[in-house]
Every structure is written in structure tokens, then in C-alpha cells.
Amino acid sequence: MPKIESVDHLTEYRRQIRAQRDPKQQQVLVCSGPGCLPLGSTEVAQAFQEEMQAKGLQGKVILKSTGCHGLCAHGVRVLLRPQEIAYEKVTPEDVPEVVETSLIGGKVVERLVYQDPVSGQTAVHKSEVPFYQGQKPLVLRKLDEIDPESLDDYLVVGGYRTMRKVLFKMSPEEVIDAVERSGLRGRGGAGFLTGRKWRLCRQVPGEMKFVICNGDEGDPGAFMDRAVMEGDPHAIIEGMIVGGYAIGAHQGYIYVRHEYPLAVKRLTQAVAQAREFGLLGNNILRSGFDFDIKISQGSGAFVCGEETALIASIEGNIGEPMPRPPYPAQKGLFGMPTVINNVETWANVPEIINMGAEWFAALGTEKSKGTKVFSLVGAVNHTGLVEVPMGTTLRQIIFELGGGIPGGREFKAVQTGGPSGGCIPKQFLDLPVDYDSLQEVGSIMGSGGMIVMDTTSCMVDVARYFISFLFEESCGKCTPCREGLRQLLNILNDITSGEGKEEHISLMEEICTTMASASLCGLGQSAANPVLTTLKYFRAEYEAHIRDKKCPALVCRPLLTYTIDPEACTACLACVRECPVGAISGPKKEAQRIDQDICIKCGRCHDVCQFEAIKVE
């Protein structure tokens, strides 16, 4: 890669690589996103490489491993461009047929295209798949198109154009104005207006300022930031350069969780490329503006997603939050004014400046502008990443894009906002999703996790799960959070194991109120949400556990009884081998029996039984 010295040089280089590329050339784009990677996308890409070589197609067909294609449920996904043919559930064994039929024969492999689970109708092209209809991808737009490891790919689709415009044609005030007018709010949790945060930081006097990208996506069930860091790392870098210029910072930090090794690798690589190319460093494109980025890796602490804890962690300390004010915009990293935004927020910035604040502000609702990426997971047919305009209803997201609940089961609740969010019941399915509407029903936007639950989920168990997660992750600095979580967990453990008492409910409500008002940071202040929303909307389930010692969803194991249906048992002995306490026995080649005195109700017999012979009550 050449070192780019000036604006003209960048324009010329972009023109050159564009001229080398033929938009009509056949491309095979294999998804290597967070959903497809565990399903073996590396092996699929490898199979394409080998098969194409064997058929003499190298050089004629371009093969790329790209970021997330969205519909993870049907991975491994492969997109053929320019035809836009979307193949699903591709395995290495399918590859020879795809190469032969589609790449050589120009036809469609019908068995690998989308099929509607209800109507059976098929869709060959990406735009015809219901999951993609109704989406408005801005942040995810380039993910299924570019090779995240190639700076050239990013440049071809117009990358670093915004940076050029900002450095040469806009003053820092104009940039901040644009971001403020766009109405962009932080995509990481609290939803603070990004432009206002930048302005605050710019106004604080000081020679040395910092920008930080919060890539410590700790909310369980959320993986949109991982997808963007792995799939479009340069968009984050470009957003940060723009932000650095606007507030007057010359150093940026990207803080990434170490649980995302590929994101760490891709970002490190992208920063090195940008530096080598002259898009980071001193006097970028001779604009007189200096800016560089360091990658900082998290070490496995959820609380570091909180901005003051994250700053402490970059400084080399334990991740304990600090009281605010002073806000990081006034006194942040190393005591200097600091703007900290999350991954999705930064990735929105280039497009806002490029397309204009008004264009962005025209999307979404009155107080929540633009689009939002949600990770749609749990009990829903089309699990994956969706990006929709703010204000899209839960019903549209879950039933139209998400394809409804599997197995014909009934929708029970959707959990949004991670451990600080709440469980939203059926009566709010027509709620237009934005920051304020979610808050009104007791949940939050958070980073955009959306976990759908059906009748097989126990809401008391869900509350217990989140409290136990937060109890583990509480840093322990302030008493309300540390002790409040411990007591909530004890009570919920009692309730889910049949030891619940009537007075537990009011006691939990009292602890929740105290934690919300007296905790130091967002983690503790919002920790009560999962308990409060489930108590509010699913109180009958708590009462069933406490009064009748029953778990209606058959989840809380101490309240269940496992028996073997002698009619269905084939005496395969799989359960006998799996049982950790030897509670299952019986005569050879006959139905087995569970000794209730020995059974510890671990449920593993139920999981291994292939014949549905283990009955749960």
C-alpha cells in the first residue's frame, strides 16, 4: 500500500482501485460473522477456494469472507453478487454443487435458498427474503459487501470520504452542529445526545483531550458491536477521526473485550493499515490535523462497559466506577476532557456527515433519530442482527422480520437492554421501539439486545439469572449494589427452589428501590429492572412459585419431578449413563425407573433422551 500524502493522492488512488474493479464480476461472499463462524464458515470458504481452483475459476471469481449477513439462524450464509442470490445453511459438502450450478452454469441451487417456514414459499434473492424487508441498514450496510481486512474495499465503497470532507471543508463547530442537528443519541445505553456531549467536551479548556470507543460489549445477548468491529472496522476509525477533529483530540482509544478475539485482531489490523496509509498519524493528508488510535483490551469485567470504569481500566487500574459529575467530557482519561461513545454510535458518524444531518433526522421518531441495530435472539425463528428505523414496533421486529416463535408456541416476553433492562409482556407488542417508549414500560434500549421468550421460559428464573449475573459482575465498591444484589439473589434462589415466602415480594421491591436511588453507577441503579418488570407483569408466576411451589414453565428444577414413561422408553440406557448420581435403573431391555429419593433433578436424562420418554411435572 502506498503512503497517501494529500487529498488529490487519495482521490487518485480511489479512482485507480475503482477502475481495476468490474462491478459485473462474479463474487462469492461468505459470511464470517458471529453467527456463521461457529457454524463453520471458515471451512465453507476454504471449500470454495479449493473447488474454484480445481475448476479453474481463480482470477475470474472473487471470493471474500465478509462480516455478518444478518440472518444467523440460517447460517452459513453465502451471497452471490451481482445476482444477489442468497444461499443458506451452506456446508462444505454443498460447495461443489454451488460452483458447478451457479458459478459455471449460471443457475440457482434451489435447495439452498430461503424457504418460508409456514407457507413454504421460496426466495432466491436477498431482497425477497422477509427478514431483510423492512430493514434500513446504515451501520450494517457494508457488512455483507466488503472484506473487513481490506482497506481498499472500504475505499471503493466511499470510505474515508467523510474524513476528507471534515478535515478540509468543515470547521470543528460545523461538525458538532451537524451531529447535534442529526439528533444522534448514544447507542450504548443511556441515550445521551452525542452532539451535546461533543460540544461540552470541546468547550472545556485544555490542550490534551481524548476520544474513546467503547467496544466492551458485555450485555449478554447483544452482539451488534462485535459484528461491526469484526465486519467494518474502518467505519469506527473514520468516525473517531471525525470526533477527534470536532472536539480537538489527537489521541483515540478503542477498548475491546478480550472475549472477542477476532474483533481485537481486525481492529488492530485496521488501525495499522490506516496508519501505514497515512490516514492516521501526524498531519493527516497535509491537513495539519494529527490523530492516532491505540487498542486497549479488556480483561473480562462487565462493569468496564460503564464509562468511568472503562477509563480507570485504560489507566491501568481496577475497573471501579467514579461518581459523576465531573463527567468524562470535563475530566476523563488521565484527568483530561474525554468523549466516550460506543461502537455503533461511532459507526453512524461518517454516514451522518456524508448524507447530512437532516437526512438522518428524517428517520426514526420525534426524540430518537436514525436507525438501531438489534440482536434478535432466543425463541424466534429468524435469529440474527436487524437494523430498523427507530419507532418500528416490537411486533414488526419479532413477527415480521423475526418470523415469529418456533414450534407454534406462544410469545411470552421480550427482554431488552441487557441485565439493566426489563421484560416486556405481550400487551406491549405494538410499542414503537425507541429510547423513551422502552423506558415508559420499565425497560431500556441499552445496546440493543432483544431476547425473545416463549412459554418455556420462567420469568422468575430469568430475574434470578440477571441478578446472579450482576452479583458476579458488581465491582463491590458501593454498598447498595454489592449487598442489594446479594440479598436479591438469596431471595430469588429461595423462591426458585420452593422456599419462597409471601413477604419476599415486598422485601424485594424495597431493596430494588434502595438500589435504584443509592447506587453509584448505572450498573447498580438499573440492576433492579429485571426484578421490577417481572414482578409487575408476571406476578402470578412469582405467586405460583411461592404459594403452590410450582414452576408453571417447568424450568425451576427443584420444583419439578422427573419420571420415565414406560411406554416410550426403549431401554437404550442413554439416561442411565448420563445420570450423575445413579438414580436410574431397571431390568435389562425393559423400561427404566428413576428413584425419586436419589434424583437431584438436574434434568440431564431429559436432555439426552431421544424418545421423549422422560416426563417432567
Binding site: 461457529p38 457454524l39 458485555g218 445477548g221 452482539f223 480483561s299 427482554q415 434434568g603 436432555d607
Partner: protein, 152 residues
């Protein structure tokens, strides 16, 4: 005996500021699979931070370990989606197959078992990882097969 040279190759990559502490500990953890006591003392001296501070950081963050880890690191995801899809039962099964509780290492130093808040592959829950490899849509009957791949 401490391998001075091995530690020096890590330390020379840093300028020796207090904020280098966490990246240095990460490098040591990555290469040694734990944080040996003698090495920590050298790190404290070199960065001019109290040893207590080094220990406070080393015990606060989940990725650091003060005892040696096994040859293979097994991480079972307990994120929300994995929890709903049976992650806890998967963990119990792995734990009983290996004969160790989460947070521990087998006596033959082959496997360490850990839990993780979320691996970000929620669409394929429940998920577990062995070293750098993901195992998607895990079921209990697959546990033996997966573990076999890594047993000597």
C-alpha cells in the same frame, strides 16, 4: 526458576508507564497461561507500582489467573440466550465429564473449565469454546465427542 529472558521480551515492548500494567499482565497470561508470582514482582518494580496494586488488578479481572491453567481452555457461555437454551445444564455436564468445578483445572493439566458472560454468538446458543474454536448449538450428547477431540 524464573525465565528472565522470556519476561524481558514482553517488558521491552512497553515504555514502563503505570498504564502499561494491564497489557503486560495480559501478555504474561497469554504466554504463560497464568501470572507467576516472581514475574509479578519484577513487573511491579519495573513499572514502579506497589505489588499490592499488581495483585489488586490481577484478582479483579476475570481473565487473569494466579494458578497455572490447563493445556486447553474450555469456556461455556452463560449469556442470556445460552441460559434460556440450557447453558447451565451444558456446564454441569461438561463439569461432571471432566470431574472439575468451573474455575478449576484437571489434575493432569489438560483442561481448565471457565464460564463466560457472553461470547456474542447468541444466535447459535448454547455455545462453548475450546481454545479458539467455537462449538455451536451444543447439546449434552455432543459433550463426550467434543472432549474426545482434545484428549491425548
Amino acid at each position: 526458576m524464573m525465565d528472565v529472558e522470556r519476561l524481558e521480551t514482553i517488558l521491552t515492548q512497553y515504555e514502563g508507564y503505570p498504564q502499561d500494567l494491564i497489557p503486560i499482565l495480559q501478555d504474561i497470561q497469554d504466554q504463560y497461561h497464568y501470572l507467576p508470582k516472581d514475574e509479578l514482582k519484577v513487573v511491579a518494580q519495573r513499572l514502579n507500582v506497589p505489588l499490592t496494586k499488581v495483585y489488586s488488578v490481577a484478582t479483579f479481572y476475570k481473565m487473569f489467573s494466579l494458578v497455572p491453567k490447563g493445556r486447553h481452555e474450555l469456556r461455556v457461555c452463560l449469556g442470556t440466550t445460552c441460559h434460556l437454551k440450557g447453558g447451565q445444564r451444558l456446564l454441569e455436564s461438561v463439569s461432571s465429564h471432566l470431574g472439575i468445578e468451573p474455575g478449576y483445572t484437571t489434575a493432569d493439566m489438560q483442561f481448565s473449565l471457565e464460564t463466560v458472560g457472553c461470547l456474542g454468538s447468541c444466535a447459535q446458543a448454547p455455545v462453548m469454546m475450546v481454545d479458539d474454536k467455537y462449538y455451536a448449538r451444543m447439546t449434552i450428547d455432543k459433550v463426550t465427542k467434543v472432549l474426545k477431540l482434545y484428549k491425548e
